[in-house]
Symmetry: C2
Subunit: 339 residues, 2 copies
Amino acid sequence: MKKKQREEDKILLSHGSGGKAMSSLIKKMVVEKFNNYILNELNDSALLPASKDKKICFTTDSYVVQPIFFPGGDIGTLAVNGTINDLAVMGAKPLYLSCSFIIEEGLEMNILDRITNSIKTASKKANVEIVTGDTKVVEKGNADKIFINTAGVGVMQKDFLLSKKKIQVGDKIIINGEIGAHGLAVMSKRENFKTDIKSDCAPLWSLIEQMLSVGGVKFMRDPTRGGVATVLCEIAANADFGIQLHETDLPIHDNVLSFSEILGLDPLYVANEGKVIAVVDKDIASVMLKQMKKDPLGKEASIIGEITKKNTGRVILETVIGGTRIIDRLTGNQLPRIC
Amino acid sequence: MKKKQREEDKILLSHGSGGKAMSSLIKKMVVEKFNNYILNELNDSALLPASKDKKICFTTDSYVVQPIFFPGGDIGTLAVNGTINDLAVMGAKPLYLSCSFIIEEGLEMNILDRITNSIKTASKKANVEIVTGDTKVVEKGNADKIFINTAGVGVMQKDFLLSKKKIQVGDKIIINGEIGAHGLAVMSKRENFKTDIKSDCAPLWSLIEQMLSVGGVKFMRDPTRGGVATVLCEIAANADFGIQLHETDLPIHDNVLSFSEILGLDPLYVANEGKVIAVVDKDIASVMLKQMKKDPLGKEASIIGEITKKNTGRVILETVIGGTRIIDRLTGNQLPRIC
C-alpha cells in the first residue's frame, strides 16, 4: 500500500522563514549531514584558517539542472563537483564550500533528503567541507523544484600559476577522457530515452594535483557549459596562436556519438562535468599521459590537438576524412539547463 | 509613444548558454560595471591575495525578495549589503563578493540593467569588489524574474573574536537604530499600500569597525529574517543567562508601528537589513552609544535590554504598561520572500 503523503513530508514556505521550522530543517538536512567544526558554529559566516602566504581562490556557480536526478548523478553531486573543479583547474586545492538552496514550496522532503545525501557523499569524496549556507523557500510555481548555489574557497598551490600567457606554439592539448557524457545523460533522462550513458560528474583535484606534480602544465579549464569547443575557442580568442584539433583523437564513446546524432547535437559542444583540458609543454606530453592514465579519472586521457603558429585566434578541426572545419563558439546553446 | 519592445530587450535562454550571447551579456552587465583587476581576468575562479595571519570569513545568501524593487532598495542592493553584513557582524572586514544570477527567461534587459547598476553602486559604497560570478537562465515560469546569490569573503580583524561565550550577566544589548523598516517597505510595495517607510538596507562595516575600536563588544548579529526577536532568542537559547528587553526603549517609528498594526505584524519579528544587535560590556555601553551616534547609521542607537541571571535561556519583554511577555521564536514566518 502506498504511504499516504503527509503535510510534514513537504517543504513549506515556513521552512524558509528564519523561525523554528527552518531551524529544525537545517539541523536535519544540513548540520547533521555536513557535520564539521566550522559549520557547527552556525554563525552568520564561516571562520576559515588564515591562508598564510598562499593566494586564495574563490568561485561560485548556481545549478539549475533539469531533471534534478539523472544517470550518474544529481543536482547535489553537480553542485559540489562543478564548483570544486572550477577551483582545481586554477591549480587551487579546493577546501571549503558554501551551499545555498532555493526551494520551491511543496518539494517532497525525501527529495531534499536524497540531494543533501548526495552533497554529503560528494564532498566527503572530494575532501571538502560545507562550512556555511542558506535556505530560501519560494511559493509553488516560482522556482522549479530546487536550485543550488555553491561558492568555493581553495588555496593556490605555490609555483603553479597557470595562465594563458604561458601557452606557446607546439604545446599539446590533453583531455583526461571521453567527452559529452554529462550533457547527454541529462538529455536522456529529460527525453526519456533508453541509453547507458552516465554523467561523468567527478571531482578533479586529485588528478590535477598529480598533473601539476609532473610539471609543464601551462593552462587548464573544465569544459562544462558549451563543451570542449567553447573552452578551446576561449583559449584561442585574441591569442597570437591557433589551435589544431584532430577529430580522430577525440575520445567519444559510441553511445554518446549515436545519441547525439539522434538529437542533432555535436558532442564537441556538449557539457562535461568531470573533464579537464590542459595545455602542456610538448616535451612532457607523453610523460603526462602516462601519469594521468594511472588515475581512474585519467584512464582514457589523450592528446587531442596542439597549439599552432597558423590560424591565429582560431580553432581548426582536422576531420577524419582529412578536411578541416572551423570550430566557432555557438551564439546560443544546444542545451539549456544542463548544469 | 511607447517604445516597441524588441526581442533583444529581453533575456533569452541563450543568454545562459555558455555561448556568444552569454559572453556579450556578461561583458555588458557584469565586467564593464563591476570592473576590477581580479574579475577582469574572467577565470573560472577569482584569485585573491593571501590572508597572511588573518582568519578568513566566508558566507553566502540567496536573495529571492518579491517584489524585486521596493522603497529604499532592490534585490541588487540587498544582495550586496545582506552578505557583507553577515561578514561584518563576525568582526570581519568584507572584501570580495561573488555574484550569481538565476534569471527567468523573458526578463526585461533594462530590469537586469537597473539591478546590476544597484549592485555596482552598493559595492562601491561598501568598498567591496565583485570578483567572480555566474549566470543561469531558466524557462519562463520556472523562476520569479530573478534570484541572486552572493557569497562573501572577508578577513578577521585581529583580537576581535566575537563569541556568545563571552557574554556575561549585566552586559547591555544595543541596536544601531529603528527596527522593522525593511520588511514593511517590501510589504508596502507588495500590498500597494501608501506609506513613507523605506528599507534600512545599508552596509554596516564602517559602523561596526568603529564599534570594535571602542572595545567591549562580546557578540553581534544582524537581525534580518525573523527580526530582532529571533536573533535575541538565538542568543539566549541554551545559554546560562536570560535576556530582558524594555519595550519603551525599542526604537520603532510611528509609520512602522501603524503599518504593522494594519498587517497584524509584530515589528520585533520583522526583517531589518541595516541593523546590528551588539552585546557589549555594561561599563562601555554609554561610550559605545556616543561613538555610534556619530555615524549616520547609528544616529538612533539605543540600549534595548540587558543580559540577566534570571530567565535562563529566555527572552522576556518588559512591556510599556509594566507587565512581562515571553518572546519566543515563531514556528513559521510572518513574511515570506522578504530577502
